[in-house]
């Protein structure tokens, strides 16, 4: 049962009658009149139960993009239905107007050739601007049918689920063109070669100023003697292709830490997406998985479709879990993906507690077969605290921050001694710096 504001206004209007005829009978009469009006209106309202609700599947969106969720309502009742519809999107879906008016004609067509069939369905559009990554839901659609007097009506909630998948925003995409350009330089596609760029022989070409003299091929030069003099010929190398890049994203308790304005997990996702896009662009095979106690999401290079999209989709539903990461399963996971030497990028945190007990014991097994890069988000807050030294309280906090930094430094040295490359940067700096590390490793032929 639903009473409308108009019902309230009618009730307030009847107070004039009470003033003019001040008697208990008037009160009773007015009350009975109101109840009768509401009952009649409720009976005459179109049945909100006799409609069928169908959700139109939504396309995935990146976080920050706007979209529209559509729902079709089919009328099966014999009376026209007029009222409101509320789509029950969760708050983070950012629905701008959740309540929209609806007007449906009678379900059974009276006109010839079913001419009324046109008005039997109504499409409800809800504009959404999600504020969170993941699968966002609208669990139900509430239909409020108001009677012809507009005083009262009936309301029914149809539990039909609607889902919108929101992918990570991939803000670091803006770095992609410049990094791809750097890769092309490595690739011999451009005139300037970088020394030692790869071990695979690519081609011979004329020497241009700026080329490394060590790359001059004297035999080829000798063969190209001409009347005008010598043409120096250089060998070009191209970086290896079809290498494996495995990105492991830690989604355990340490990833729940919010640094600056985003959780560590999201910064890691940005870095993973940029690296994935870059490596795929360089012709490497990219595999991705996230883990805490077990595997929480994965995207394999062998899967069909765009890898970047698959990674984003796999990541979208990953949320930090308050459990300790199980690094011991990492070698097994990597063996399952590939037996050949790979670049293993572990996106985790430089947190001495979790790394010393979890990652360090399994590292030798990993570094033996693979090139391991550990990427972690650095907390700029620690640096700020370490610098603030005005009061005693600030100095104590600076000492605590310095201690955390020392521990991190010790851990980095320990990792470096095990042959692990460590990339640590502020949240927004991590994706480009990880990409740079990848390019550097590729350029030096270490993949």
């Amino acid at each position: 049962m639903v009473l409308t504001r108009r019902f309230l206004y009618v009730a307030l209007g009847l107070s004039a009658v009470v003033v003019v005829f001040p008697a208990p009978g008037t009160l009773l009469g007015c009350a009975v009149l109101l109840i009768l009006l509401a009952a009649v209106d409720m009976v005459l309202a179109g049945s909100p139960r006799s409609v069928r609700v169908e959700r139109v599947p939504t396309a995935e969106v990146r976080l920050g993009q706007a979209t529209t969720a559509s729902t079709t309502v089919y009328q099966a009742g014999s009376r026209p239905l007029r009222g409101q519809v509320k789509d029950g999107w969760q708050p983070s879906a950012g629905a701008r107007a959740q309540i929209s008016p609806i007007r449906l004609g009678p379900g059974r067509s009276n006109g010839p050739n079913g001419s009324a069939a046109r008005i039997q369905t109504a499409r409800i559009e809800t504009a959404l601007r999600p504020t969170r990554r993941g699968d966002l839901h609208s669990e139900h659609l509430s239909l409020r049918s108001i009677g012809p007097l507009g005083l009262a009506g009936r309301q029914v909630t149809h539990r039909v689920r609607h889902t919108l998948r929101v992918l990570p925003p991939f803000h670091s995409r803006r770095h992609l063109p410049s990094k791809l350009q750097r890769l092309r330089e490595l690739d011999g596609a451009t005139a300037v070669q970088i020394r030692g760029a790869g071990h695979e022989f690519d081609s011979l070409r004329d020497y241009v100023r700026g080329d490394d003299v060590r790359s001059i091929d004297w035999r080829a030069t000798a063969r190209r003697q001409s009347s005008q003099g010598q043409h120096l010929v250089v060998r070009t190398w191209r970086p290896e292709r079809d290498r494996r890049v495995i990105i492991a994203l830690d989604s355990s308790r340490t990833s729940a830490v919010r640094i600056e304005d985003e959780p560590r997990l999201d910064s890691g996702m940005e870095a993973a997406l940029l690296l994935g896009a870059l490596a795929a662009g360089a012709g490497d095979r990219v595999d991705y998985f996230s883990f805490d106690r077990g595997l929480s999401s994965q995207a394999r290079s062998g899967m069909r479709g765009d890898l970047l999209h698959q990674m984003a989709e796999a990541m979208s539903t990953v949320e930090p879990r308050l459990v300790e990461a199980d690094f011991s399963q990492l070698p097994g996971q990597i063996r399952a993906i590939s037996s050949q030497r790979s670049l293993l990028v572990v996106l985790t945190s430089l947190d001495s507690g979790s790394l010393e007990e979890g990652l360090l014991p399994v590292l030798p097994a990993l570094t033996q077969r693979h090139l391991v890069v550990l990427a972690a988000v650095r907390d700029p807050e620690l640096d700020r605290r370490a610098r603030a030294r005005e009061t005693a309280g600030e100095v104590y906090r600076a000492a605590a921050a310095e201690r955390a930094l020392i521990e991190k430094e010790a851990l980095r040295r320990q990792l470096a001694s095990l042959g692990v490359e460590v990339v640590e940067a502020a949240p927004h700096q991590l994706p480009p710096q990880l990409a740079d590390t990848y390019i550097r490793l590729k350029a030096s032929g270490r993949l």
Partner: protein, 431 residues
């Protein structure tokens, strides 16, 4: 249908737009009404503060100038108290429809020597005092200008009336058992007087004579001064409705409310219930939001810092700061992986051109109090800044600004960085 909808939405939009001003207007009207209702005392007919035509403000002003102090009584109780307080003061009982309670009337009938003036436009006061005579109500005198003036009359025993000579205000006429003053003719009863003497006091039927409008006409002013201005104090009692009740039996405020108030209150209560039903009905079930786990960063460092402070851990804090700065200095000065402390100090002293012994002394300080710790921490930070600046001057371009803190902290050796810088340089030249 569309027109109605448009009109409705226009009205709704208009209401929303003007909502604030409408509310302000309503509030303004309500406050004006409230002020008005609080001020209505001054608007009373024959009120002593009423400056309107039917008020007595002029009379009160003149009496005040004559140094007559008027003590107003709003109830019989107060009037009795005032009479006890001022035994000689004349009493004025002004009836505008309500009469004093029986006890007060009894007191009036058996009064002592106190002069009493009873002012009444109608029969109520006389009827309350003497329901069965000897004096009685004779009707009204219409008044109406100097042609309808009433003469004091030859047999008039009251000096005040004789001095006033005439009155021309409308009012009541009475029959008395003794000769009265201001003789007029009522249509049905013949000759009667406007001012008569009773046991309870002088009863004057024309209080309208003393209003601001009429006080200057005929002999009104003289009559007023003779009646009220005789003594320094004057008790002015205006009976109210509540006076007619017993002292113990107070009237319920409901008795004075209009009939429709109670039913309306019940109806509005019902409306409130309706409003609760209307506004309380949700348009659908409550939607939950599964919130993700998030922990603020640097929480551990904050906790540890607080712990240091609460334990006054000066020495451990100093040690930590010292090691942190030594590690950073070693990196700034490129002294390799694990340099000796002495070599760091020596290199730093060379870099900033200071005495190594002085630097050693600075680093060896052992602060014992908070203030010493702050000074120590600041001097360490200053030393690092100096070394950094000197390093930048010696090798311009070798480091980007702040490289010691964040650039190198990002997992690259300085050579890596230079290498990358060169690559980037090539990029730009290509682009």
């Amino acid at each position: 249908m569309t027109t109605t909808a448009t009109l409705g939405s226009t009205l709704r939009n208009g209401f929303q737009r003007w909502q604030f001003w409408l509310l302000l207007l309503i509030l303004g009207l309500l406050s004006v009404a409230l002020i008005q209702s609080l001020n209505d005392e001054d608007m009373d007919r024959f009120g002593l503060q009423n400056t309107a035509l039917d008020g007595y403000a002029a009379l009160a002003g003149v009496l005040e100038e004559q140094e007559v102090q008027i003590h107003q009584a709003a109830s019989a109780e107060i009037a009795r108290d005032l009479m006890t307080e001022h035994p000689e003061a004349p009493l004025v009982v002004l009836s505008t429809g309500d009469v004093p309670d029986a006890a007060f009337n009894e007191g009036l009938r058996e009064r002592d020597q106190r002069p009493v003036v009873l002012l009444s436009e109608g029969p109520e006061l006389l009827t309350a005092l003497y329901p069965e005579g000897p004096a009685s109500y004779a009707g009204t005198h219409p008044g109406g200008g100097s042609s309808a003036a009433l003469e004091a009359g030859a047999q008039c025993p009251v000096d005040a009336a004789v001095n006033a000579a005439t009155v021309q205000a409308p009012g009541a006429l009475f029959f008395g058992d003794a000769p009265g003053c201001f003789i007029g003719f009522s249509e049905d009863a013949g000759e009667a007087q406007m001012l008569i003497e009773t046991d309870a006091g002088l009863l004057f039927g024309g209080p309208a004579a003393f209003t601001n409008q009429n006080i200057t006409d005929a002999g009104h002013a003289a009559l007023a001064l003779w009646l009220f201005g005789a003594e320094d104090d004057l008790i002015w009692y205006t009976p109210m409705g509540v006076d007619t009740l017993d002292d113990q039996q107070w009237a319920s405020p409901m008795d004075f409310l209009p009939d429709w108030v109670v039913p309306l209150a019940w109806w509005l209560l019902l409306c409130v219930l309706v409003m609760m039903l209307v506004l309380g009905r949700r348009p659908g079930p409550v939607v939950g939001e599964p919130l993700p786990v998030q922990v603020p960063g640097a929480e551990t460092a904050e906790g540890r810092g607080r712990m240091y402070q609460s334990a006054n851990a000066v020495a451990p804090s100093a040690r930590t700061l010292r090691s942190a700065h030594l590690i950073r200095l070693a990196r700034l000065l490129r002294l390799g992986a694990a340099p000796q402390e002495a070599s760091i100090i020596a290199a730093a002293a060379r870099q900033v051109r200071r005495d190594p012994a002085q630097l050693e002394g600075l680093l060896a300080q052992q602060p014992r109090r908070n203030s010493e710790l702050v000074a120590y921490a600041q001097s360490l930070a200053q030393l690092e800044d100096e070394v950094q600046r000197a390093a930048l001057n010696h090798h311009p371009g070798a480091h980007s600004a702040g490289g010691a803190r964040d650039g190198l902290g990002a997992g690259q050796t300085s050579t890596d960085r230079t290498h990358l810088n060169r690559q980037q340089g090539k990029n730009t030249s290509n682009d």
